[in-house]
């Protein structure tokens, strides 16, 4: 089968799907949407259609063949990236326009169906953007949304716009044209193209992808492997997940191209087991690839054989490290091993192996589709292209974004992200997950690319970006990341296994008010030893959250130690809550929410917290609508310090 044949078929399916002159409802049902209730919304639509006696179809090939303009097309799509506004639903009534609704609830559905879908009148109150057509009423065009305007969606080119279970949609929008081109160009040319594009590995290390391929391509032997690292273990990172759920073919095509360039005939995708929807999508996509002659023997008649296997992870962060990942695929305990030998020389089953991140491969397919020089238009000289980021934390608009490298942090936080949640004071952005560091307010104009992040003491990592405000305690943040790395350490090497335990012990002591001035040089010393002597990246970078917060937020550490104070009001042992009588109006909300009944007061009179009963859970502070619950350092009798033997 040639690609042209597939594209013909695809165009038909896609046209039917993408027509604006028919009734259609698209529901964002990736994991983020589902978590917000998208499936209940979908069910509400189906019930509503039934109630109206409206015939409707899914967008399967069979259905598409028979569907007429009057039948409603109902489909689930991937993530558009505006996760803060989920569930997102796109409705078109057939008049050529299409509106994206936000925070849709099952309660809203009957009105959506009646008024917009059937009646042709959009509901501006619940609308977020116009997906097709001119702005309606006050609803802006999607591409003009502040969150979208500055984004350059290459990796995410199809997410939220196509049905990820239909290969035709992806093909119609360019999928596999890159593979076809690669097969014509030949191995060396493909590697040269990727090298010329300047694409750097998006898993975190940032090593030029083309150079990495060249090593494995050069290695002797005709049994080689390529692996897609879809372990995505950083807490709060969901970039890879969205791509796998929303546009699996972008990755599968990239993996196949990688295999071709390197000379491998077998590819593995190592997906963490915690991504069941992604696994489902990949499996379905793989079957469709095979049916279309895009995977398996003699791909597109080129003579190139390539088989892809999906391997599920089993819940270990360390298996995102390439040699541990290789061990896991081999059926061994997921523990890293020293290099040399490097995987490019001796990797999976002892054969030359290349491992690339999901995002790198999604970029590869785009690069081969559009050419290296196209790609170099985006980003900076040393950091070409775009990068996805999962924007999370105390930000108005959390979600999945993609920007050209070199975009400033300020743009991301203030314009795209809409600024700090609730208008509170910005404190820092944590990038790179548990291996990364915090960028403080004074560096907000930092260009986000590999070099500048490293200079600031952080790393790009896989793309996690967590925004912190004045209510975040940086010591507690460091402690949080250490609880993660300490429990995920594989235990093989001493500096990481024991070092993470000691770092965690010290940080926990700091947050509990038992810290001493000796703790700070101790943290530096241990961090230094771990960075230099650990076997793999987990141990080498585990001290980063501590070291960067020490660098930029030393004052907070000092306060915790010398004043036993947590100015953010987070560290429970160091704070106590009190009610400002000026601000309290006696609404009794706090008293009713106190789990230990430590708040007393009459209605309409200022309330009082009994600090001897108070367990400092913070419920009163978060429920108070008048900001009357205040935080202050806790006065305690320190007593004799006892060294913690077991954390």
């Amino acid at each position: 089968m040639t690609l042209a044949t597939l594209q013909q078929q695809a165009a038909q399916t896609w046209t039917q799907f993408a027509r604006r002159d028919r009734r259609r409802v698209l529901i964002g049902a990736a994991t983020c949407g589902r978590a917000a209730g998208a499936l209940r919304v979908a069910e509400a639509f189906r019930n509503e259609f039934a109630r109206h006696g409206l015939p409707f179809d899914s967008d399967s090939a069979e259905a598409m063949a028979s569907t007429g303009a009057e039948r409603v097309l109902l489909a689930e799509v991937g993530c558009l990236g505006l996760c803060y506004a989920e569930p997102l639903v796109e409705v078109q009534s057939g008049d050529g326009s299409s509106v994206l609704y936000q925070r849709v609830t099952p309660q809203l559905v009957p009105k959506l169906v009646e008024t917009h879908l059937l009646g042709g009148h959009p509901l501006p109150h619940s609308a977020l953007a116009v997906m097709a057509g001119e702005p309606i009423l006050e609803i802006p065009k999607f591409e003009d949304l502040p969150m979208i305007r500055q984004q350059v969606r290459i990796i995410l080119r199809n997410c939220g716009l196509i049905d990820p279970t239909q290969i035709d949609h992806a093909i119609a929008r360019g999928a596999y044209s890159g593979l076809a081109r690669a097969l014509e160009l030949g191995r060396e040319a493909v590697t040269a193209e990727v090298l010329a594009s300047g694409l750097r590995g998006r898993g975190g290390a940032g090593f030029p992808a083309g150079a990495k391929w060249a090593f494995a391509a050069r290695s002797a032997g005709d049994e080689k492997y390529v692996i897609c690292n879809a372990d995505e273990g950083d807490p709060g990172a969901f970039m890879n997940r969205s791509v796998l759920e929303g546009d699996p073919h972008a990755v599968l095509e990239g993996l196949t191209i990688a295999g071709f360039a390197v000379g491998a005939h077998t590819g593995y995708i190592y997906v963490r087991a915690e991504y069941p929807l992604a696994i489902e999508r990949l499996q379905a996509a793989l079957e469709q690839m095979r049916a279309g002659g895009l995977s398996g023997p003699n791909i597109l008649g080129s003579g190139f054989d390539f088989n892809i296997h999906i391997k599920k992870g089993a819940g270990a962060f360390v298996c995102g490290e390439e040699t541990a990942l290789i061990a896991a695929i081999e059926g061994r305990r997921g523990m890293p091993r020293p290099r040399p030998p490097f995987p490019a020389v001796s990797g999976l089953f002892g054969k030359p192996t290349t491992i690339n991140n999901v995002e790198t491969l999604a970029a590869v397919s785009a690069i081969l589709q559009n050419g290296a020089s196209w790609y170099t238009k985006f980003g900076t000289e040393k950091s070409r292209g775009t990068k996805t980021f999962s924007l999370a934390g105390k930000i108005e608009r959390t979600g999945l974004i993609e920007v050209a490298l070199g975009t400033s942090l300020r743009t991301i936080v203030e314009e795209i992200g809409g600024g700090v949640l609730g208008g509170k004071g910005f404190k820092a952005v944590q990038t790179g997950g548990p291996s990364g560091g915090c960028i403080p307010a004074q560096l907000l104009d930092l260009q986000v690319d590999y070099e500048h992040l490293a200079e600031a003491g952080s790393i790009m990592g896989s793309g996690g970006m967590v925004v912190m405000d004045e209510d975040s305690c940086m010591v507690d943040v460091a402690r949080y990341f250490l609880t993660f790395t300490e429990s995920e350490s594989c235990g093989k090497c001493v500096p990481c296994r024991m070092g993470t335990q000691h770092l965690l012990r010290i940080l926990t002591g700091l947050t509990e008010g038992t810290g001493t001035p000796e703790d700070l040089p101790q943290l530096q010393r241990l961090g230094h030893a771990m960075t230099k002597a650990s076997l793999c990246g987990l141990g080498q970078t585990a001290p980063n959250p501590v070291l960067t917060t020490l660098r930029y937020f030393a004052e907070e550490y000092r306060q915790h130690i010398e004043e036993h104070r947590c100015s953010a009001g987070v560290c429970r042992e160091l704070v106590e809550f009190w009610i400002d009588v000026e601000k309290c109006n006696g609404c009794t909300l706090c008293a009713r929410n106190c789990p230990v009944d430590s708040i007393s007061g009459e209605k309409k009179h200022a309330h009082l917290i009994d600090t001897s009963q108070c367990i400092r859970c913070g419920a009163c502070r978060s429920t108070c609508n008048f900001g009357a619950v205040m935080v202050r350092p806790r006065a305690v009798d320190r007593g004799e310090k006892r060294v913690v033997a077991n954390v």
């Binding site: 093989k492 000691h502 030893a529 076997l535």
Partner: protein, 842 residues
Amino acid sequence: MSEITESVTLTIDGREVRAVTGDTVLDAARRAGIPIPTLCAHEDLSPFGACRLCIVEIDNVRGYPTSCTTPATAGMVVRTQSKELEELRNSTLELMLSGHPNSCLICDDREDCEKYRPQPAKAGQSTKCGACSNRSGCTLREMSLATPASTLNLPTLYSPHKLERDDPFILRDHNLCVLCGRCWRVCEQLHGTPAISIVNRGREARIGTAFDRSWVDSGCTFCGACIDICPTGTITDRFSRWYPAQHRELRTSCQLCPQACTLDLIVSQGQVVASHMTGFKRPARLCALGRFAYPQIMSSAVRLLQPMIREDGDLTPVSWEETISAVAAALPNYRDGSFALIAAEPQTRESRRMYEHLAVEIMHGQLFSQPAGSGPDDLPSAVRDDITAGRIRAVWTAGDYLTQELLERIEYLVVADFLPSLAARRAAAVLPVAVLAEDEGTLQTASSQIKTLATPLAARGKARSEWTLVREIVQSMGIAGFELPSVTDVVRADDREYTVAPPNGDPRDRVADLPARFRGHVLADIVPGLQALGLRATEASAPVEQLVGFTVVARDEVVPNFHRLVIEAPAIARHAQPGQFAVVMVGEKSERAPFTLVDWDKEKGTITLVIEEVGRSSQEIAKLKAGQRIAHVSGPLGLPLPLDIPADNIASVPATPRTIVLGGGCYGVGSIYPIARAFKQAGAQVITVIEGCSEHMLYMEEELRSVSDRFYLATKDGSEGRKGGVQDVFLDLYREGLKIERFVAIGCSFMMRMVAARTAGLGIPLQVALNPIMVDGTGMCGACRVTVGSETKFACVDGPFFDGYAVDWDQLFARRNAYMRTEIEAIPQTAGNGLKVLQPAT
């Protein structure tokens, strides 16, 4: 065809070094004699790179690569020493030690303590070097002592892993493990799929089996390689772990099956205490018998040691001359074809040759060699018929091969064996033979090799090699030509070779293939641990339950190795006074062991003791459960500590002291409690000090605080309170200017000795509670005698409290160490309660 190995030249520390193809940087350094510290690396294992101690600097290579994993290449420039490397290695070692009991390593009194206690305490859990069986061989300890620093800048993070004591032969104490990985790596190397690996992650990471199964259930073949390769005391050989380090090694061949694997025997004071592999590659692996059963077979408590002949119906021990004469006189009566000799394979060629001479040439009878692993049921039916029919009237058996029915038919029976059997009880003559490492000669193996046994060890008792017995008997029968001065004269070059049947399966790979018998005897009876591997014993060893006696109300391990035991003993509770002790005998055959009465409740009728597990009897107590019974508890014994001082002791001290300072260490922490309470009740100012090696070993703090006016803690590692011991706090208090009327110290002999040494000359009386060996506890036997001043006293009736400055400490230590060997041998070799008997593995 041999490979041409190329050599490469690289530079290490400025020196040109030659390396061979395939060498790592570590290999090259070792070749050149350049030392690099390592722990997880082992010359017989593939590189692992876990401990990070062998890091080096290499030009043009980022970071600090491990020399054990980096291949040596031509022109490489390596530095093994630098300030940065030293700092990183020290940090790594410090981190490693912070996860391992380390108080002895940083204790200021370590050298003195080890001088007076040449053997570590035979504790349950190894909480410190002083309680670790691998104290003399531990690599971690060696490295740590070589690094000068007596403080650790990091607190110790103890892992609370349970002691693994339920598998046979191999004991695991994971609190000592530094996860070097050698054990599971050698297991993988020898067996393919390892039985053990690292399980869990982070601080929970430890060596374990899949799904926490027992090692038996995980396919462990009990080859013992993990024990031999473990650099700490984590994995140990249950039988031999406490034997002292001084030993010699003897390389010989195993004789428990025709495989005849080569072994390295560890011989301590003439006794084989362990058997090791000769290397860690696959061909050197051993089976559970060669590795573990071998020493226990030789040391069996029921070995035949005396030649005996039946006189007037009874078997009587006599001299060898008499025995040999008696046999030589009887045998000629059976030279008419009515004699059969049943030999036991595997046997030496010399034994076999001599038996051939005897049975066939001289006696004109028959020789049957029973195959290895066979027993009475495997005797050929022809033999059984002949015996039953009376055609065979005289039998010489070299093992347990005759059933009761057959024995009744035999007229004249000679038993040449090493263990008792039915046959031995009915024999006319019993000849105790030398076995295994006591034997001499050569072996024909199943793979047609001839192996020479090492020079034999002196046999137990009067046992002798079989071949010499046959020689003597034959000579005594007047037959010429058997002068044979040495074993090498027995088998001649022209003697025909014989084949040996190969063993069934390979017990080195499958526990199910282990032979069940040796010389006809059931192995599981000799070595009960084998029951857990599926070998059946004649009677499964079940713990003997004590059905009458004193009821255990509760037994809790308050801190590792220390057990608080509450017993119903109303009479003792009624009469107990502070300072007295009780003697506990768990079962009717147990040892009598004295323990201070820590507390008593007259209303409830209970007494409380604190027991430290340091050997057999305390281990018995440590396993007691509430509701079980103790055979005997006698007390209260000893003189209560007088609250005033006896007239013949220090002069000019008021009758009821005003300030007394008490110090307790280890079990003394419990023992000091009733003393403190009594003084408090008498109106004194009580200052109590307790010490432990580390803060997690301190206990009863609340109780002690409640009866003290001032309370102090001291730890050897400085983890809490004052770094040091009781004596240091005593001196601190003295220097404070406190007017101290009396010191009382209770703890191990070394602690009390140290207190005495440090406080001597202050003019303050010191009373210590001595703990010599004790048997009856009531003044009759004299075992507990101590020398105080110039007098001999009995600790049980004159003590246990004595003037600390007058005690002859050296004598006390010498007497306490007198039975070290016996104590080691007394420790049970099976798990005792809870030993599982498995179905034979398929």
